[in-house]
Symmetry: C2
């Protein structure tokens, strides 16, 4: 099969660090154009806007959106309307409703929309899912604590309303949890901690359950200095499962079961090629739906102001 | 066709004012049992819990949930698990995820789940939809302003986190708007006003758009004394449409086009009987999804404390 002619929109840090190397290594894709206000990619056609790019390069078959979520709807809508398959980073939009609209448009046009969750492609996630499917889960605890000053220095947009705050990393945890659990869960209680000078939460504590009464809690915190935690711990009838380092490492009762180098973005592009070739979409809104549910149901609590 | 054997859960004000009279007048239903902690219904079997009722009255085919939203998931899950069709009041749950779970359960069991939006059955709503389908909409403004002290005196649960606050009436407006508009909309901006002593908003200002750039705004306010407003006004190529009194009255350019007595609950039961007989569900989460989106995307603003 000849490679899918791909264009990227947004040539910034994530495009250079992750998208471009993954595309270069994947024979299913041929990068033919890029649109970006500031950046350019050597050796291909570059444009200042997606409109100009779509008009000038009709050979584009698929578009990968590598820009912040705020303007993603418009770009995705333009690309789908022009008959292109679309790959979107997480989170797939600022609202659930706009993503539902894009999904309906892709369906109507027979195009593939990939609303990706990169953490689901962390190395040990499938092994964790297989283990949980083979046992009885008694409880689960998600601890996702990192230092926002280190990971998002001076990024104003993450603190604005709609910027999701600590749910920006937290949604990665939710994308794993919703993938590895055997049944859907839903939130019964949440507390969101907002710095008194910010419009997005810096921490959240969430209680979930499922139809069988599962005891699942999640703690997200952006004030963690020193050791960073991206762990999912489950008490099961076959021992304590620890999925740590953001899904990279799986241990059962302290015995390491699975660890290999991270390959998330190459896996995402592999998946995107698969769904394009199969003529289907991959849009699972569950992680974003839980975030929206947490904001709707959660109690707001005000904590110390945050300054970068 | 013999009538559907129906049971109700929750015998309070809304059951007595709306459900019981509507059921009594509808030959498609025969009320056979009720479960309620405090209330009873004359002439049928009464139980203290849904569990006891489902166990003792196997003839029940469908269950109507007339209680507050907080415990609805559990009751709906029990009824569906026992093989009963379910009718739920608006809002269908405290989270989107729990309703998605119920919908999947109803599907899996081949049962009908009706997540109802009573305002969609207001007398002039269908006429408004037909008018909007026949013209071009230039802009739309929703004004839903009422006096919470009058409509919800001393109801603590509406002010708790998850109680939705002003979105409790506002979701009625959203249920109409999402039904009468020709295309799906999504929120681009929202401001939620929280009384400084409460965990739910007393007012909200929301901006929506759609794929064609529609200009749609909504103002919800619970501090309105005097005249109450439940109006949807649209500027169209065929004049100004005013759908007022919560959907009861339709005027175009000041000329009254449609007005008749309110029959919302009788219509809801008619619809429930239809979907049970057709073997399908009616679960449109769009109104609740917009509320969740507003909480997720919206800026929080603090206003004067509210005391009943």
């Amino acid at each position: 099969m000849s490679p899918i002619h791909l264009a990227i929109v947004g040539v910034g840090k994530i495009a250079r660090d992750q998208h471009l190397p993954s595309i270069a290594k994947n024979p299913d894709f041929k990068l033919v154009a890029a649109a970006s206000r500031h950046g350019t990619v050597d050796g291909i056609d570059n444009f200042k806007s997606i409109d100009e790019m779509l008009e000038k390069v009709p050979a584009i078959q698929a578009v990968s959106l590598c820009m912040p979520p705020q303007n993603r709807y418009e770009a995705a809508h333009k690309a789908l309307s022009a008959g292109k398959h679309v790959f979107m980073e997480k989170p797939p939009g600022a609202t659930l409703s706009e993503v539902a609209d894009l999904e309906a448009l892709a369906d109507a046009k027979g195009l593939s929309l990939f609303a990706s969750w990169h953490s689901r492609y962390a190395p040990a996630v499938e092994a964790a899912k297989a283990f949980l499917d083979s046992t009885i889960i008694r409880s689960m605890k998600v601890v996702w604590k990192e230092d926002v000053r280190h990971w998002h220095p001076n990024q104003e947009w993450i603190w604005q309303a709609g910027g999701l705050g600590v749910f920006d990393p937290g949604i990665n945890a939710l994308s794993i949890v919703t993938h590895i659990l055997p049944r859907p869960v839903f939130i019964t209680k949440a507390t969101l901690e907002f710095p008194e000078n910010r419009d997005a939460p810096i921490a959240a504590g969430i209680t979930f359950t499922d139809a069988h009464g599962l005891d699942l809690t999640a703690e997200f915190d952006w004030r963690q200095t020193g050791k960073q935690s991206w762990d999912i711990v489950a008490a099961t009838d076959d021992g304590e499962m620890v999925l740590s380092e953001g899904g990279a490492k799986l241990s059962i009762d302290g015995v390491l079961k699975h660890e290999e180098p991270e390959q998330e973005y190459p896996m995402l592009y592999k998946r995107f090629a698969e769904i394009v070739q199969a003529g289907k979409s991959d849009v699972d809104l569950a992680p974003l739906r839980h975030v929206a549910d947490a904001f709707m149901l959660g109690r707001r609590k005000f904590v110390d102001a945050f300054y970068d």
